[in-house]
Symmetry: C2
Subunit: 269 residues, 2 copies
C-alpha cells in the first residue's frame, strides 16, 4: 500500500508515520511517497500505463525497550492535590531530529514551569510538566500516565499539550464546558500583547487524550501560525526551523494560561 | 570537500552540481550537504567537537556518448542570414526530472517559434530555436554551436536564453550597447499587459555565452519572480512545479521580444 505523504507539498519530501495492523488480518507492507511522486503515479495510471515500482524499505520494529515519562512539578501551596498538567512528547521519528515534533513543545512547557520557579511563584494548585514517551508509536506514555494516576484524574483541573510546533503562538484550542471556555477566554486576554489570545473550538492532544477522555478533563492545545505539517515526520524536522523568540513566546503563553488556572481561587470547570 | 548546498534553505535538500578538476592537481572528492546539515556541522565545530563523517557517494562519470543540439528555425523572408537565436538546454541533473532546469526554458522558447508558425508570421530575419545539450556538465552544446556557426556569428542579431525557470515572467535581463538597451526597453513596453516589461541590467546564459562572447552579440535572458534556486539541481525539480499559465506567459514574452527584433527594419545594435 502506498499513500501520498500526509502534509502540504514539500520538496519531494515523504512524511513517515505509524502503521497499525489488525490481529488476524494480512500484514500488507505500506509506504508513503512524496506529493510529487504520488502525482506522477497518478498521471501514469490516468494515461493507462501499467505501473511497476521497486521499493527499498528499511522500516522495521525492534524489540520493546524500557522508556519513561519525564515528570517535574511545583507542588501547590494550598491545593496540592489539584493538578494542572502541561507537556509535550520526548520521542520523535528518526528521519529528522524532532525539533518541531515535539522538542519545541517539551522545551516550551518545561520552560513555563522553570519561569514560575525562577520568579518564586508557587501557585495555589500543583503545576506538573510531563514529557511523554512513545507518542509516535503507540502512545504508551500517555496511556501509562492515565493508568498510573487513574484515581487522581478527577482532581486534574486542566491539561495543556504543545504538539503542534512552537512557531508564533496564536492562542489555545480548547475542549471543555461553556463555563470553562468563557474563563479560558478571560485568561487569554492577558496574552493579547503577543497576539496569542485566541481560544479555538477544540483542544487536546495524543498524550493528554487518554487522561482527558477518562475523566472528562478540560483540555488545551497550544496553537500557532506555522507550517507544522510541512516539517513534521520528515528529515527537515531540525533545530534550524526553531526561532528562539517564538519558543519564548510559546513558553510565555503556556506559563500565563497555566499559572492563572493554577492560582485562581475557583476551580476551572 | 563539503560545500553548503547552493540555494536557499529547503527541506534538508542538498543541491547537486558540477565539479571540475585541474590537470595535475589532486582530485579531492567533493559533496554538497543540505543547509540544515551544514549548520549542524558548523555548530559542532564551533563547540569544539571533532567531526567525523561517513559519506556514501555514488557520483561518477560514464564514458562520453554522442549527443546533439536540437535546432529548428523559421527562415527570414528578407534577411535570412541575419539570425535571432532563442533557446534553453535539454540536459538536466538526474536527481529530479529537470522540469524547471531547463525543461521549461526549452518549452517556452520552442513554443515562441511554434506560435509564429501557427500565426503564419514569417519575420524579416531568421528566428532559430536551439535546445542545447550538456549545459550542466561542460557546456559542450553551447561551445559546439559557437564553433559550428563561427563565421555566421557576426550576423547573429541577438541571442535569448531561458534558463532561470518559467515562473511568472517579469521581463528580460540584457547585456549590450546603450542603443540596443533603449530599443529593448521600447519593445518590452508591448509586454506591460502581463507585467513582463522590465529590462534588467545584465543578460546572458551558459549556452549562449560562448557565442555571445565570441562575437559580442546582444544577449537577453528571460527573468521571472520564482524561487528557481530552491528547486534547481534537487530531487524536487519535477513537473508539478510548473504552472501551464506561466509557461504560456513566458512563451509570449519570448515570442514578442523575438518577433519584433527579427521583424523591425533596423538591426538591433
Amino acid at each position: 500500500m502506498l499513500v501520498r505523504a500526509v502534509g502540504p507539498p514539500g520538496l519531494r519530501t515523504p512524511h513517515t508515520g505509524a502503521l497499525t495492523y489488525v490481529d488476524g488480518q494480512p500484514q500488507i507492507p505500506a509506504a508513503a511517497v512524496s506529493t510529487e511522486d504520488a502525482a506522477r503515479l497518478q498521471r501514469m495510471v490516468d494515461r493507462g500505463t501499467t505501473v511497476r515500482l521497486k521499493l527499498m524499505m528499511e522500516a522495521h520494529f525492534l524489540p520493546d525497550a524500557d522508556s519513561a515519562n519525564v515528570v517535574g512539578e511545583i507542588r501547590g501551596r494550598e491545593l496540592p492535590d489539584e493538578v494542572v498538567v502541561i507537556g509535550g512528547h520526548i520521542d520523535s521519528w528518526d528521519v529528522g531530529t524532532g525539533s518541531t515534533d515535539d522538542g519545541g513543545g517539551c522545551v516550551a512547557t518545561w520552560e513555563a514551569l522553570r519561569l514560575m520557579k525562577k520568579l518564586n511563584l508557587r501557585p495555589r494548585r500543583t503545576v506538573r510538566v510531563v514529557l511523554w514517551t512513545n507518542e509516535e508509536n503507540g502512545t504508551r506514555g500517555g496511556n501509562a500516565y492515565r493508568d498510573r494516576h487513574l484515581t487522581e484524574l478527577p482532581n486534574h483541573v486542566a491539561m495543556i499539550e504543545s504538539d503542534g510546533g512552537v512557531f508564533t503562538p496564536t492562542g489555545f484550542g480548547f475542549s471543555g464546558s461553556d463555563a470553562a471556555r468563557a474563563k479560558a477566554r478571560d485568561i487569554a486576554t492577558l496574552l493579547a500583547g503577543i497576539h496569542a489570545d485566541t481560544i479555538g473550538p477544540t483542544g487536546g492532544g495524543a498524550d493528554i487524550g487518554p487522561s482527558v477522555q477518562q475523566a472528562n478533563i478540560p483540555a488545551f492545545e497550544l496553537e500557532n501560525n506555522g507550517n507544522y505539517f510541512l516539517i513534521h515526520h520528515t528529515p527537515a524536522d531540525t533545530v534550524d526551523k526553531i526561532e528562539p523568540l517564538e519558543v519564548s513566546r510559546s513558553a510565555a503563553a503556556v506559563a500565563v494560561m497555566t499559572y492563572v488556572i493554577a492560582e485562581m481561587p475557583e476551580r476551572l470547570r
